[in-house]
């Protein structure tokens, strides 16, 4: 690093050290921000929201919007699980829905996806979870199109007007690092609780990726395609509709895929604001520690996530293929005809036997008893280990570390952060980092924030210790690397809530379980980017090093790792983001950090407090992001 730049950074580091060493002599004001300096952000936000709601009449707007959403929800609810609302057609027999999903899988990607997709829905029906799953799906079916439409329009605006993009970008940055709960509180204030609120929070939460992908897709259309459109005499509108948007098809469909996955993650969590469905069931079962039943629900959620992800990705990747000339109408519409035939068969089956219309509770299969037995046996087996691990971690690692983080004077933390910023990007980065961290101190939630930081630090450190060696091992062979990447892909589609099931199972409800859940969730991106970084090293470079006589260890240390480092940093960055999200979700199994306060804000519908806490989390994430991506960019530039 540049010695001229590192000089002030070193001084700041020294200052941080000095503040720690001389803590006993420090005035109280440098250890914790004195009370009078703490700014009532929450009250200000509440005042703004009250103004928006009462004086600006925003309530009327949100009512109108939520009315439209509610109407759509009623329609899907009627069709999918027979809620008695217009159009009073449903419920559609489960065999028909399973056949339809299977057909979608076949049309998009062939037999394997058809089997997976139909099989998932058969599993849901046979296990007697049909109603919950349909409650969840009915919300996604409404929320995802709304999100896509909103994202498409906002993305187009941002693409068309630079000013809009300039305003939108920082908002998106913050929005994508706000934890899920921060979105829920304002929605509860404006809409209340229940499926409608669940749908709306889902819509809001899943818009940002669509905006980003729209912007990206429209930008990436090759200029010659646009010019050829113009030379074909298109008006501006024709150019947009017939050239730009179809040419950006793949990016837009990947946006839709992300919207669907975000919707699923949110809909499951929206059980906290009274959204019925799989999420609520899982929450109740986890809280009463019914492991077998929660594993069943967990399997369903995971299967749904995988199916929805594969289907929408297959749609994005599907390329049109030509038909033989002179094909008959039946040949051209083969898939449609098969589907209609399957549906007719399904309806006939449902009419013939009620089992195929809907599986009654008493007819449902359950694996809960064998799972419980298996888990009990397993737990009995590992209890000595987990108990010891829990004891060891709590007594020797977690509590001392937590106390250590809480012991730090806030002034020392500020100096340390500024030093890091200076190291990475000079005075500008130092100031940016301070701008992120100072509001947290000013908000008065310093202690809670430090507990969050401690949990994340511990979890990410362990994640690094596991993910890096595992990634190194996995990247050693191309086949193994591919299999591991597929595994990471699949793990990343799971809604974060799912990760809580095994840790509650193993460790019960305590700090160790939280750290374990966060750690597992945070290991996935590290593993993934380690493999991608190592496999992304150009083969010529490796060959050149081998021809220079580098041994395997030398190759790893002197060639592969340095070149993979920027990618690794991105992995670490994403890992921290994931950890922050997870630590907040894990709050409901008992933490004392920002997440727990956020749950309190949620139950007392305190918008100001909720948003302040959410922003505190977001700022921590953004600061880590600034430091790590800044550093990775510098490394990459230096490497050329």
């Amino acid at each position: 690093m540049n010695p001229r730049l590192s000089h002030p950074a070193l001084m700041l580091l020294g200052l941080a050290l000095l503040l720690c060493l001389g803590r006993f002599a420090l005035p109280e004001a440098l250890i914790r921000l004195p009370e009078p300096l703490i700014l009532p952000f929450a009250d200000w936000i509440n005042a703004v929201f009250a103004f928006l709601r009462d004086d600006l009449g925003l309530m009327a707007v949100t009512r109108a919007f939520s009315g439209a959403v509610e109407f759509c929800l009623d329609v899907t609810a009627n069709l999918l699980y027979g809620k008695s609302r217009w159009p009073r057609l449903g419920p559609i027999p489960w065999v028909v829905i399973a056949a339809t999903m299977g057909m979608a899988g076949y049309a998009l990607a062939g037999w394997r996806l058809a089997l997976l997709s139909a099989g998932t829905f058969v599993w849901i029906a046979v296990m007697g979870q049909w109603k919950w799953a349909m409650e969840t799906l009915s919300v996604i079916m409404v929320a995802a199109p709304f999100s896509v439409a909103l994202g498409l329009s906002a993305g187009t605006l941002a693409w068309r007007f630079r000013g809009v993009e300039r305003v939108m970008n920082p908002i998106l940055n913050i929005a994508q690092s706000l934890p899920h709960f921060a979105y829920m509180i304002p929605v509860v204030v404006f809409i209340g609780v229940g499926p409608k609120a669940g749908a709306i929070v889902t819509i809001i939460f899943s818009v940002p990726p669509m905006i980003r992908m729209t912007l990206l897709g429209l930008r990436a259309v090759p200029p010659e395609i646009i010019e050829s459109g113009k030379m074909s005499g298109t008006t501006k509108w024709q150019l947009m509709r017939s050239v730009r948007i179809p040419a950006a098809r793949t990016e837009l469909l990947i946006g839709i895929n992300q919207v669907i996955m975000q919707s699923l993650a949110m809909v499951v969590l929206a059980s906290f604001i009274g959204m019925p469905g799989l999420g609520q069931k899982l929450l109740n079962l986890l809280q009463s520690l019914k492991i077998g039943l929660s594993v069943e629900i967990g399997i369903t959620i995971v299967l749904l996530a995988v199916v929805l992800d594969r289907l929408s990705k297959a749609w994005a990747m599907k390329q049109p293929a030509h038909l033989e000339p002179g094909a008959t109408w039946a040949a051209r519409n083969r898939l449609l005809l098969i589907w209609l035939g399957l549906c007719a068969a399904g309806f006939a089956l449902a009419a013939a036997h009620p089992y195929f219309a809907g599986v009654e509770r008493k007819q449902a299969l359950s694996l809960a008893v064998p799972i419980d037995a298996g888990v009990d046996g397993f737990i009995r087996l590992v209890t000595p280990l987990t108990d010891w691990l829990r004891w060891f971690l709590i007594t020797w690692v977690l509590i001392p570390l937590r106390d250590g983080f809480l012991w730090l004077p806030f002034s020392a933390v500020l100096a340390f952060i500024a030093a890091l910023g200076w190291l990475v990007g000079g005075v500008r980065s130092a100031l940016i980092c301070l701008a992120f961290i100072l509001p947290i101190a000013l908000s008065g939630w310093w202690d809670r924030a430090m507990i969050t930081v401690y949990t994340v630090t511990v979890a990410v450190t362990i994640a690094l210790l596991i993910g890096l060696p595992l990634g190194l091992w996995a990247a050693a062979r191309p086949n193994r690397a591919r299999r591991f990447l597929l595994l990471c892909d699949t793990l990343q589609t799971f809604p974060s809530f799912i990760y809580l099931i095994p840790v509650v199972m193993l460790f019960g409800v305590n700090d160790v379980a939280v750290v374990a859940a966060v750690m597992v969730f945070a290991t996935v991106p590290i593993l993934r980017f380690t493999i991608e970084g190592l496999c992304g090293v150009p083969p010529e470079t490796i060959e050149a090093a081998e021809m220079s006589g580098a041994g395997r260890a030398q190759l790893l240390w002197h060639v592969k790792l340095p070149l993979a480092l920027p990618t690794l940093m991105i992995g670490a960055n994403q890992s921290i983001m994931f950890a922050l999200f997870m630590v907040i979700i894990a709050a409901f199994i008992g933490t004392q950090d920002l997440g727990q306060e956020m749950q309190r804000a949620l139950s007392s519908t305190d918008v100001g407090k909720g948003l302040v806490l959410g922003l505190a989390v977001a700022f921590m994430g953004l600061m880590a992001d600034h430091l790590l991506t800044g550093w990775a960019a510098r490394r990459r530039k230096a490497a050329g």
Binding site: M231, K236, P246, A247
Partner: protein
């Protein structure tokens, strides 16, 4: 070629990229140098270009990459707005046209072929060709009929339902050519249409292009960086360097009488015998004796090489298409051109 029959005219056209090119409008003079522009944070992609393109003429614009030829053709189609000067198309000022007039012009008068084809990936070959017709609101039946006709013309009959990614590069460019011709344009722009193709296909497409050109009377602006391609196809060649036109002339005169050292260097590797026609080398008769068979004036020396070698007359007569002798070729000069100067 009367002054009135110019389809496209450029007068002192400039296209400047940079910080505030709009401020330069009206301030650019022929003698403005790159250094002056660079000092204000600008780069000229097209500098002070004046040229006329006659009806039915084929002008090939040549230059290395970055010489501004692609920018120039985009100015002619007003895909980009020029910084200074004026371009008229069929007597109308392109710069002052409204959006609607411009769209109308493109829908009826202009067609363009692109280097990387610019096909719409989600439409079949037929739908791509029908696209300009669809945009101008032609009904479905007639546009499909017209598009199939165009695909047959470029030899892609039977591939109507294929998507671009299912076609080879040469086939994709045939679709691009069919699309550009679908509206029966008077003006045909081709921006390095064959550069992305491999050499064998390129040759094949050039032959195809010459066939189409013979069938359709169009004013053509053709961009290429391949001098052999230019010589094969052009009525006139414009050679560009750093945004300016170095020389604009017939292929023969470009080769035989380069206007600048740059053009001379550019053409130095060209086999002159393949460019120069017997007629161009002919001297006036001036009462000298004419006897024996005459060489056809429109053939290149390369095509006549055997006959010139075997002919032992010092001066060989040259005759036009009608058989009337128009001049005499100095056999020694012709051999110099064919074989290189005697050592």
């Amino acid at each position: 070629m009367g002054q009135n029959d110019n389809v496209i005219s450029c007068k002192n056209v400039w296209k400047v990229f940079g910080d505030h090119p709009e401020r330069l409008t009206g301030h650019l003079k022929p003698e403005t140098t790159s250094e002056e522009l660079r000092a204000t944070g600008h780069v000229a992609a097209v500098r002070n270009v004046s040229l006329d393109i006659a009806r039915g003429e084929m002008l090939v614009v040549m230059g290395l990459s970055g010489s501004g030829k692609s920018t120039l053709i985009r100015c002619l189609a007003r895909l980009i707005d020029i910084t200074d000067g004026a371009i008229t198309v069929e007597g109308r000022d392109l710069g002052t046209m409204t959006e609607t007039e411009l769209i109308d012009l493109r829908r009826r008068k202009m067609g363009m072929v692109f280097q990387s084809f610019g096909l719409l990936p989600h439409r079949t070959a037929l739908e791509n060709v029908a696209f300009p017709l669809e945009m101008r609101g032609q009904d479905r039946i007639s546009r499909i009929a017209r598009a199939s006709e165009m695909l047959n013309l470029v030899g892609l009959g039977g591939r109507e339902g294929y998507f671009p990614r299912e076609l080879s590069g040469g086939q994709q460019q045939r679709v691009g050519i069919a699309r550009s011709l679908a509206v029966e344009p008077d003006i045909w722009f081709l921006d390095e249409p064959f550069s992305a193709l491999d050499p064998l296909i390129r040759r094949e497409m050039q032959d195809e292009f010459l066939r189409l050109k013979g069938m359709l009377a169009k004013t053509i602006v053709f961009i290429t960086h391949d001098f052999d391609e230019a010589l094969r196809l052009a009525d006139r060649i414009a050679i560009m360097k750093d945004g300016a036109i170095e020389q604009i002339d017939t292929p023969e005169r470009i080769v035989m009488a380069p206007a600048t050292p740059y053009v001379a260097k550019f053409t130095s590797a060209v086999d002159r015998a393949r460019v120069v026609h017997a007629g161009a080398l002919a001297l006036a008769v001036e009462g000298r004796a004419i006897d024996g068979p005459a060489l056809p004036a429109i053939e290149t020396l390369h095509a006549l090489a055997r006959r010139i070698l075997q002919d032992d007359r010092a001066l060989i007569p040259v005759a036009g298409r009608d058989g009337v002798v128009t001049g005499l070729i100095d056999r020694a000069a012709a051999l110099d051109l064919l074989l290189g100067p005697a050592a």
